[in-house]
Symmetry: C2
Subunit: 193 residues, 2 copies
DNA sequence: AAGTCTTTGTAGACCGATCGGTTTAGACGC
DNA sequence: GCGTCTAAACCGATCGGTCTACAAAGACTT
Protein backbone atom coordinates (compact mmCIF):
# COMPACT_ATOMS: atom_id res chain seq x y z
CA UNK A 1 0.00 0.00 0.00
CA UNK A 2 1.23 3.41 -0.95
CA UNK A 3 1.70 5.94 1.77
CA UNK A 4 0.59 9.55 1.58
CA UNK A 5 3.58 11.78 1.12
CA UNK A 6 1.95 13.91 3.75
CA UNK A 7 -0.05 12.01 6.30
CA UNK A 8 -3.48 13.27 7.24
CA UNK A 9 -2.17 13.56 10.78
CA UNK A 10 0.45 16.03 9.56
CA UNK A 11 -2.06 18.18 7.71
CA UNK A 12 -4.86 18.28 10.30
CA UNK A 13 -3.07 20.39 12.90
CA UNK A 14 -2.14 22.94 10.26
CA UNK A 15 -5.74 23.17 9.10
CA UNK A 16 -6.75 23.55 12.73
CA UNK A 17 -4.44 26.52 13.03
CA UNK A 18 -6.09 28.06 9.96
CA UNK A 19 -9.48 27.68 11.63
CA UNK A 20 -8.11 29.17 14.83
CA UNK A 21 -6.69 32.13 12.97
CA UNK A 22 -9.61 32.89 10.66
CA UNK A 23 -12.63 31.00 11.98
CA UNK A 24 -14.54 28.35 10.10
CA UNK A 25 -16.15 30.69 7.60
CA UNK A 26 -13.11 32.91 7.35
CA UNK A 27 -10.66 30.11 6.59
CA UNK A 28 -10.93 29.81 2.82
CA UNK A 29 -9.34 27.11 0.76
CA UNK A 30 -6.78 29.55 -0.53
CA UNK A 31 -5.83 30.36 3.08
CA UNK A 32 -5.69 26.70 4.04
CA UNK A 33 -3.65 25.87 0.95
CA UNK A 34 -1.24 28.66 1.71
CA UNK A 35 -0.92 27.69 5.37
CA UNK A 36 -0.51 23.97 4.85
CA UNK A 37 1.43 24.03 1.61
CA UNK A 38 -1.01 21.41 0.34
CA UNK A 39 -2.95 22.05 -2.86
CA UNK A 40 -6.70 22.03 -3.09
CA UNK A 41 -6.66 18.80 -5.05
CA UNK A 42 -4.66 17.02 -2.37
CA UNK A 43 -6.85 18.41 0.35
CA UNK A 44 -9.94 17.07 -1.36
CA UNK A 45 -8.19 13.78 -1.88
CA UNK A 46 -7.56 13.48 1.86
CA UNK A 47 -10.82 15.13 2.94
CA UNK A 48 -13.48 14.32 0.31
CA UNK A 49 -16.03 16.03 2.52
CA UNK A 50 -14.27 19.40 2.22
CA UNK A 51 -14.12 21.93 5.01
CA UNK A 52 -16.89 20.30 6.97
CA UNK A 53 -14.99 17.02 7.16
CA UNK A 54 -11.80 18.84 8.10
CA UNK A 55 -13.57 20.63 10.94
CA UNK A 56 -15.30 17.46 12.08
CA UNK A 57 -12.05 15.52 12.18
CA UNK A 58 -10.29 18.35 13.96
CA UNK A 59 -13.01 18.48 16.59
CA UNK A 60 -12.81 14.71 16.96
CA UNK A 61 -9.06 14.98 17.36
CA UNK A 62 -9.33 17.67 19.99
CA UNK A 63 -11.96 15.69 21.81
CA UNK A 64 -9.79 12.60 21.65
CA UNK A 65 -6.87 14.46 23.13
CA UNK A 66 -8.96 15.81 25.99
CA UNK A 67 -10.56 12.45 26.69
CA UNK A 68 -7.23 10.69 26.82
CA UNK A 69 -5.20 13.30 28.63
CA UNK A 70 -7.75 14.96 30.88
CA UNK A 71 -11.15 13.34 31.12
CA UNK A 72 -10.07 9.75 31.65
CA UNK A 73 -7.54 10.66 34.34
CA UNK A 74 -10.22 12.76 36.02
CA UNK A 75 -12.71 9.92 35.80
CA UNK A 76 -10.54 7.01 36.82
CA UNK A 77 -7.26 8.26 38.24
CA UNK A 78 -6.33 9.43 41.71
CA UNK A 79 -8.46 12.61 42.09
CA UNK A 80 -5.90 15.02 43.47
CA UNK A 81 -3.24 13.95 41.03
CA UNK A 82 -5.66 14.15 38.11
CA UNK A 83 -6.66 17.64 39.17
CA UNK A 84 -3.08 18.83 39.43
CA UNK A 85 -2.36 17.17 36.10
CA UNK A 86 -5.26 19.07 34.53
CA UNK A 87 -3.98 22.50 35.54
CA UNK A 88 -0.56 21.91 34.04
CA UNK A 89 -1.87 20.24 30.89
CA UNK A 90 -4.46 22.98 30.28
CA UNK A 91 -1.81 25.62 30.64
CA UNK A 92 0.39 23.82 28.17
CA UNK A 93 -2.39 22.97 25.72
CA UNK A 94 -3.57 26.55 25.43
CA UNK A 95 0.00 27.83 25.26
CA UNK A 96 -0.50 29.68 28.52
CA UNK A 97 -3.31 31.73 26.98
CA UNK A 98 -1.84 32.32 23.56
CA UNK A 99 -3.98 29.75 21.77
CA UNK A 100 -7.73 29.87 21.69
CA UNK A 101 -10.09 26.97 22.20
CA UNK A 102 -11.41 25.97 18.80
CA UNK A 103 -14.44 24.27 20.31
CA UNK A 104 -15.30 27.44 22.19
CA UNK A 105 -14.84 29.55 19.09
CA UNK A 106 -17.05 27.23 17.09
CA UNK A 107 -19.63 27.42 19.88
CA UNK A 108 -19.95 31.16 19.30
CA UNK A 109 -20.38 31.41 15.56
CA UNK A 110 -22.77 29.86 13.07
CA UNK A 111 -20.54 26.81 12.86
CA UNK A 112 -22.23 25.70 16.04
CA UNK A 113 -25.24 24.47 14.11
CA UNK A 114 -23.14 21.98 12.15
CA UNK A 115 -21.20 20.71 15.12
CA UNK A 116 -23.69 21.26 17.89
CA UNK A 117 -23.48 17.69 19.16
CA UNK A 118 -19.68 17.56 19.20
CA UNK A 119 -19.43 20.91 20.98
CA UNK A 120 -22.10 19.96 23.46
CA UNK A 121 -20.48 16.62 24.28
CA UNK A 122 -17.02 18.10 24.68
CA UNK A 123 -18.10 20.65 27.26
CA UNK A 124 -20.57 18.41 28.99
CA UNK A 125 -18.04 15.65 29.45
CA UNK A 126 -15.45 18.07 30.72
CA UNK A 127 -17.79 19.47 33.35
CA UNK A 128 -19.03 16.02 34.29
CA UNK A 129 -15.60 14.45 34.55
CA UNK A 130 -14.31 17.31 36.65
CA UNK A 131 -17.37 17.32 38.88
CA UNK A 132 -17.12 13.60 39.60
CA UNK A 133 -13.42 13.90 40.24
CA UNK A 134 -14.06 16.58 42.83
CA UNK A 135 -16.69 14.45 44.52
CA UNK A 136 -14.26 11.56 44.66
CA UNK A 137 -11.76 13.97 46.18
CA UNK A 138 -14.23 14.69 48.96
CA UNK A 139 -16.24 17.69 47.78
CA UNK A 140 -19.97 18.07 48.24
CA UNK A 141 -21.74 17.03 45.00
CA UNK A 142 -23.48 20.38 44.62
CA UNK A 143 -20.34 22.38 45.27
CA UNK A 144 -18.39 20.08 42.99
CA UNK A 145 -20.83 20.55 40.15
CA UNK A 146 -20.81 24.32 40.54
CA UNK A 147 -17.05 24.45 40.70
CA UNK A 148 -16.67 22.23 37.64
CA UNK A 149 -18.92 24.50 35.63
CA UNK A 150 -17.06 27.49 37.00
CA UNK A 151 -13.74 26.01 35.97
CA UNK A 152 -14.60 25.22 32.36
CA UNK A 153 -16.28 28.56 31.91
CA UNK A 154 -13.36 30.42 33.45
CA UNK A 155 -10.92 28.77 31.08
CA UNK A 156 -13.01 29.83 28.10
CA UNK A 157 -13.44 33.35 29.40
CA UNK A 158 -9.76 33.59 30.21
CA UNK A 159 -8.85 32.73 26.65
CA UNK A 160 -11.24 35.35 25.28
CA UNK A 161 -10.09 38.11 27.60
CA UNK A 162 -6.42 37.27 27.14
CA UNK A 163 -6.80 37.52 23.38
CA UNK A 164 -9.01 40.60 23.57
CA UNK A 165 -6.66 42.71 25.64
CA UNK A 166 -3.59 41.01 24.21
CA UNK A 167 -2.27 39.93 27.57
CA UNK A 168 -1.74 36.22 27.97
CA UNK A 169 -1.04 36.63 31.68
CA UNK A 170 -4.79 37.06 32.17
CA UNK A 171 -5.17 33.38 31.38
CA UNK A 172 -2.41 32.25 33.70
CA UNK A 173 -3.84 34.31 36.54
CA UNK A 174 -7.28 32.82 35.98
CA UNK A 175 -5.83 29.33 35.98
CA UNK A 176 -3.97 30.05 39.17
CA UNK A 177 -7.12 31.34 40.87
CA UNK A 178 -8.85 28.16 39.78
CA UNK A 179 -6.30 25.79 41.23
CA UNK A 180 -6.23 27.83 44.44
CA UNK A 181 -10.01 27.71 44.81
CA UNK A 182 -9.98 24.00 44.07
CA UNK A 183 -7.59 23.45 46.92
CA UNK A 184 -9.68 25.63 49.20
CA UNK A 185 -12.83 23.79 48.20
CA UNK A 186 -11.31 20.40 48.96
CA UNK A 187 -9.57 21.56 52.12
CA UNK A 188 -12.72 22.85 53.72
CA UNK A 189 -15.03 20.14 52.47
CA UNK A 190 -13.04 16.99 53.12
CA UNK A 191 -14.45 15.34 56.22
CA UNK A 192 -12.30 16.34 59.23
CA UNK A 193 -9.60 13.71 59.69
CA UNK B 1 -33.79 67.67 4.99
CA UNK B 2 -35.39 64.39 4.22
CA UNK B 3 -35.43 61.77 6.88
CA UNK B 4 -34.51 58.18 6.25
CA UNK B 5 -37.61 56.07 6.08
CA UNK B 6 -35.72 53.76 8.37
CA UNK B 7 -33.33 55.48 10.69
CA UNK B 8 -29.83 54.17 10.99
CA UNK B 9 -30.61 53.59 14.64
CA UNK B 10 -33.38 51.21 13.63
CA UNK B 11 -31.21 49.24 11.25
CA UNK B 12 -28.07 48.96 13.35
CA UNK B 13 -29.46 46.63 16.03
CA UNK B 14 -30.79 44.31 13.35
CA UNK B 15 -27.41 44.20 11.64
CA UNK B 16 -25.89 43.51 15.03
CA UNK B 17 -28.15 40.50 15.41
CA UNK B 18 -26.98 39.25 12.02
CA UNK B 19 -23.37 39.49 13.18
CA UNK B 20 -24.28 37.74 16.40
CA UNK B 21 -25.97 34.93 14.51
CA UNK B 22 -23.42 34.38 11.75
CA UNK B 23 -20.24 36.16 12.77
CA UNK B 24 -18.60 38.98 10.88
CA UNK B 25 -17.41 36.87 7.94
CA UNK B 26 -20.48 34.67 7.96
CA UNK B 27 -22.98 37.52 7.83
CA UNK B 28 -23.29 38.15 4.11
CA UNK B 29 -25.19 41.01 2.56
CA UNK B 30 -27.94 38.66 1.50
CA UNK B 31 -28.31 37.56 5.13
CA UNK B 32 -28.27 41.12 6.39
CA UNK B 33 -30.76 42.20 3.74
CA UNK B 34 -33.06 39.34 4.65
CA UNK B 35 -32.78 40.00 8.36
CA UNK B 36 -33.20 43.77 8.22
CA UNK B 37 -35.64 43.96 5.32
CA UNK B 38 -33.39 46.68 3.89
CA UNK B 39 -31.95 46.27 0.42
CA UNK B 40 -28.29 46.36 -0.38
CA UNK B 41 -28.61 49.74 -2.05
CA UNK B 42 -30.15 51.28 1.02
CA UNK B 43 -27.60 49.69 3.27
CA UNK B 44 -24.79 51.18 1.23
CA UNK B 45 -26.54 54.49 1.27
CA UNK B 46 -26.60 54.44 5.05
CA UNK B 47 -23.23 52.73 5.48
CA UNK B 48 -21.00 53.77 2.56
CA UNK B 49 -18.17 51.87 4.22
CA UNK B 50 -19.97 48.55 3.91
CA UNK B 51 -19.73 45.78 6.48
CA UNK B 52 -16.68 47.26 8.12
CA UNK B 53 -18.51 50.50 8.87
CA UNK B 54 -21.52 48.61 10.14
CA UNK B 55 -19.39 46.59 12.51
CA UNK B 56 -17.47 49.66 13.64
CA UNK B 57 -20.67 51.58 14.38
CA UNK B 58 -22.17 48.59 16.15
CA UNK B 59 -19.10 48.25 18.34
CA UNK B 60 -19.22 51.96 19.04
CA UNK B 61 -22.89 51.67 19.96
CA UNK B 62 -22.27 48.75 22.28
CA UNK B 63 -19.39 50.58 23.86
CA UNK B 64 -21.54 53.66 24.30
CA UNK B 65 -24.25 51.66 26.00
CA UNK B 66 -21.78 50.08 28.39
CA UNK B 67 -20.09 53.37 29.15
CA UNK B 68 -23.35 55.10 29.92
CA UNK B 69 -25.14 52.31 31.74
CA UNK B 70 -22.30 50.48 33.46
CA UNK B 71 -18.89 52.09 33.35
CA UNK B 72 -19.87 55.61 34.35
CA UNK B 73 -22.00 54.47 37.28
CA UNK B 74 -19.12 52.23 38.37
CA UNK B 75 -16.68 55.10 38.05
CA UNK B 76 -18.67 57.90 39.63
CA UNK B 77 -21.73 56.52 41.38
CA UNK B 78 -22.17 55.04 44.80
CA UNK B 79 -20.03 51.87 44.61
CA UNK B 80 -22.38 49.31 46.13
CA UNK B 81 -25.37 50.57 44.18
CA UNK B 82 -23.36 50.64 40.94
CA UNK B 83 -22.24 47.08 41.55
CA UNK B 84 -25.77 45.84 42.21
CA UNK B 85 -26.93 47.79 39.17
CA UNK B 86 -24.30 46.06 37.04
CA UNK B 87 -25.43 42.54 37.92
CA UNK B 88 -29.02 43.24 36.96
CA UNK B 89 -28.14 45.19 33.82
CA UNK B 90 -25.70 42.54 32.63
CA UNK B 91 -28.28 39.85 33.13
CA UNK B 92 -30.80 41.85 31.15
CA UNK B 93 -28.39 42.93 28.44
CA UNK B 94 -27.28 39.39 27.68
CA UNK B 95 -30.84 38.11 27.89
CA UNK B 96 -29.90 35.99 30.89
CA UNK B 97 -27.34 34.11 28.78
CA UNK B 98 -29.29 33.81 25.56
CA UNK B 99 -27.41 36.53 23.74
CA UNK B 100 -23.70 36.44 23.13
CA UNK B 101 -21.28 39.30 23.54
CA UNK B 102 -20.44 40.60 20.09
CA UNK B 103 -17.21 42.16 21.29
CA UNK B 104 -16.12 38.85 22.76
CA UNK B 105 -17.05 37.01 19.57
CA UNK B 106 -15.09 39.52 17.49
CA UNK B 107 -12.18 39.08 19.86
CA UNK B 108 -11.96 35.42 18.92
CA UNK B 109 -12.07 35.50 15.13
CA UNK B 110 -10.07 37.27 12.47
CA UNK B 111 -12.27 40.33 12.83
CA UNK B 112 -10.12 41.14 15.83
CA UNK B 113 -7.43 42.57 13.63
CA UNK B 114 -9.74 45.23 12.20
CA UNK B 115 -11.25 46.21 15.51
CA UNK B 116 -8.41 45.43 17.83
CA UNK B 117 -8.40 48.86 19.45
CA UNK B 118 -12.16 48.97 20.04
CA UNK B 119 -12.17 45.49 21.54
CA UNK B 120 -9.16 46.24 23.68
CA UNK B 121 -10.63 49.46 25.01
CA UNK B 122 -14.01 47.95 25.76
CA UNK B 123 -12.62 45.19 27.93
CA UNK B 124 -9.91 47.30 29.50
CA UNK B 125 -12.31 49.99 30.54
CA UNK B 126 -14.73 47.44 31.94
CA UNK B 127 -12.05 45.83 34.08
CA UNK B 128 -10.67 49.19 35.14
CA UNK B 129 -14.02 50.72 36.02
CA UNK B 130 -15.01 47.68 38.03
CA UNK B 131 -11.70 47.49 39.80
CA UNK B 132 -11.80 51.15 40.87
CA UNK B 133 -15.38 50.78 41.99
CA UNK B 134 -14.42 47.88 44.23
CA UNK B 135 -11.56 49.87 45.68
CA UNK B 136 -13.93 52.73 46.42
CA UNK B 137 -16.20 50.18 48.07
CA UNK B 138 -13.40 49.23 50.38
CA UNK B 139 -11.58 46.37 48.69
CA UNK B 140 -7.83 45.95 48.59
CA UNK B 141 -6.51 47.29 45.25
CA UNK B 142 -4.85 44.01 44.35
CA UNK B 143 -7.89 41.93 45.25
CA UNK B 144 -10.14 44.41 43.46
CA UNK B 145 -8.11 44.21 40.29
CA UNK B 146 -8.08 40.41 40.36
CA UNK B 147 -11.80 40.25 41.01
CA UNK B 148 -12.59 42.71 38.25
CA UNK B 149 -10.65 40.65 35.76
CA UNK B 150 -12.32 37.54 37.11
CA UNK B 151 -15.75 39.08 36.67
CA UNK B 152 -15.38 40.18 33.08
CA UNK B 153 -13.80 36.90 32.10
CA UNK B 154 -16.48 34.90 33.86
CA UNK B 155 -19.23 36.72 32.01
CA UNK B 156 -17.58 35.95 28.69
CA UNK B 157 -16.98 32.34 29.61
CA UNK B 158 -20.52 32.00 30.89
CA UNK B 159 -21.92 33.16 27.58
CA UNK B 160 -19.76 30.68 25.67
CA UNK B 161 -20.59 27.72 27.88
CA UNK B 162 -24.28 28.58 28.02
CA UNK B 163 -24.44 28.65 24.24
CA UNK B 164 -22.24 25.58 23.85
CA UNK B 165 -24.29 23.29 26.05
CA UNK B 166 -27.50 25.08 25.21
CA UNK B 167 -28.35 25.87 28.81
CA UNK B 168 -28.79 29.53 29.60
CA UNK B 169 -28.97 28.80 33.31
CA UNK B 170 -25.19 28.35 33.22
CA UNK B 171 -24.90 32.09 32.72
CA UNK B 172 -27.31 32.99 35.48
CA UNK B 173 -25.52 30.70 37.91
CA UNK B 174 -22.17 32.25 37.00
CA UNK B 175 -23.58 35.72 37.52
CA UNK B 176 -25.00 34.70 40.87
CA UNK B 177 -21.66 33.29 41.96
CA UNK B 178 -20.06 36.58 40.93
CA UNK B 179 -22.37 38.79 42.94
CA UNK B 180 -22.01 36.48 45.94
CA UNK B 181 -18.22 36.59 45.77
CA UNK B 182 -18.33 40.35 45.37
CA UNK B 183 -20.30 40.64 48.57
CA UNK B 184 -17.93 38.27 50.32
CA UNK B 185 -14.94 40.22 49.07
CA UNK B 186 -16.32 43.52 50.32
CA UNK B 187 -17.63 42.09 53.58
CA UNK B 188 -14.27 40.68 54.58
CA UNK B 189 -12.18 43.56 53.27
CA UNK B 190 -14.07 46.63 54.46
CA UNK B 191 -12.32 47.99 57.50
CA UNK B 192 -14.11 46.75 60.64
CA UNK B 193 -16.76 49.32 61.59
C1' DA C 1 16.65 -5.76 -15.06
C1' DA C 2 13.69 -3.45 -18.29
C1' DG C 3 9.31 -2.23 -19.55
C1' DT C 4 4.57 -1.57 -18.71
C1' DC C 5 0.29 -1.50 -15.75
C1' DT C 6 -2.12 -0.03 -11.99
C1' DT C 7 -2.78 2.36 -8.14
C1' DT C 8 -2.24 6.57 -5.44
C1' DG C 9 -1.34 11.38 -4.79
C1' DT C 10 -0.63 16.24 -6.64
C1' DA C 11 -1.36 20.46 -9.01
C1' DG C 12 -4.15 23.63 -10.64
C1' DA C 13 -7.56 24.81 -14.35
C1' DC C 14 -12.17 25.05 -14.17
C1' DC C 15 -17.27 25.44 -12.53
C1' DG C 16 -21.50 27.76 -10.94
C1' DA C 17 -22.75 30.35 -6.95
C1' DT C 18 -22.16 33.91 -4.10
C1' DC C 19 -19.29 37.30 -2.14
C1' DG C 20 -18.71 42.60 -1.13
C1' DG C 21 -19.40 46.51 -3.59
C1' DT C 22 -21.17 49.96 -7.54
C1' DT C 23 -24.32 51.94 -10.50
C1' DT C 24 -28.57 53.28 -12.20
C1' DA C 25 -33.43 53.95 -12.85
C1' DG C 26 -37.14 55.45 -10.67
C1' DA C 27 -40.30 55.96 -6.31
C1' DC C 28 -41.56 59.12 -3.04
C1' DG C 29 -41.80 63.11 0.24
C1' DC C 30 -41.07 67.86 0.19
C1' DG D 1 -40.06 68.77 -10.07
C1' DC D 2 -36.13 68.48 -7.26
C1' DG D 3 -33.37 65.98 -4.26
C1' DT D 4 -33.21 62.02 -1.31
C1' DC D 5 -33.66 57.31 -0.74
C1' DT D 6 -34.67 52.54 -2.45
C1' DA D 7 -34.53 48.40 -5.27
C1' DA D 8 -32.29 45.64 -8.05
C1' DA D 9 -29.37 44.83 -12.05
C1' DC D 10 -24.77 44.50 -12.50
C1' DC D 11 -19.54 44.01 -11.61
C1' DG D 12 -15.10 41.58 -10.87
C1' DA D 13 -13.26 38.65 -7.35
C1' DT D 14 -13.40 34.82 -4.74
C1' DC D 15 -15.94 31.24 -2.64
C1' DG D 16 -16.34 25.87 -1.96
C1' DG D 17 -16.05 22.14 -4.76
C1' DT D 18 -14.99 19.13 -9.16
C1' DC D 19 -12.27 17.33 -12.67
C1' DT D 20 -8.46 16.25 -15.46
C1' DA D 21 -3.75 15.61 -16.64
C1' DC D 22 0.10 13.79 -14.91
C1' DA D 23 3.91 12.39 -11.52
C1' DA D 24 5.50 8.80 -8.51
C1' DA D 25 5.81 4.25 -6.87
C1' DG D 26 5.14 -0.67 -6.39
C1' DA D 27 3.52 -5.04 -8.91
C1' DC D 28 3.53 -7.99 -12.84
C1' DT D 29 5.47 -9.89 -16.98
C1' DT D 30 9.15 -11.37 -19.36
Amino acid sequence: MLRLTREKSDILPLVAEAFRAFGYEGASFSQITKLTGVSKGSLYHVFPGGKEQMAAEILAGINGWFVKNLFEPLETGEPNAALAHMWTEIDRYFHAGGRICLVGAFALDATREHFRAAIHDYFNRWVEALSRCLVRAGAEPLAASAFAEHTVLTIQGGLILARAIHDEAVFSRALRRLSDSAEALLACQTPPH
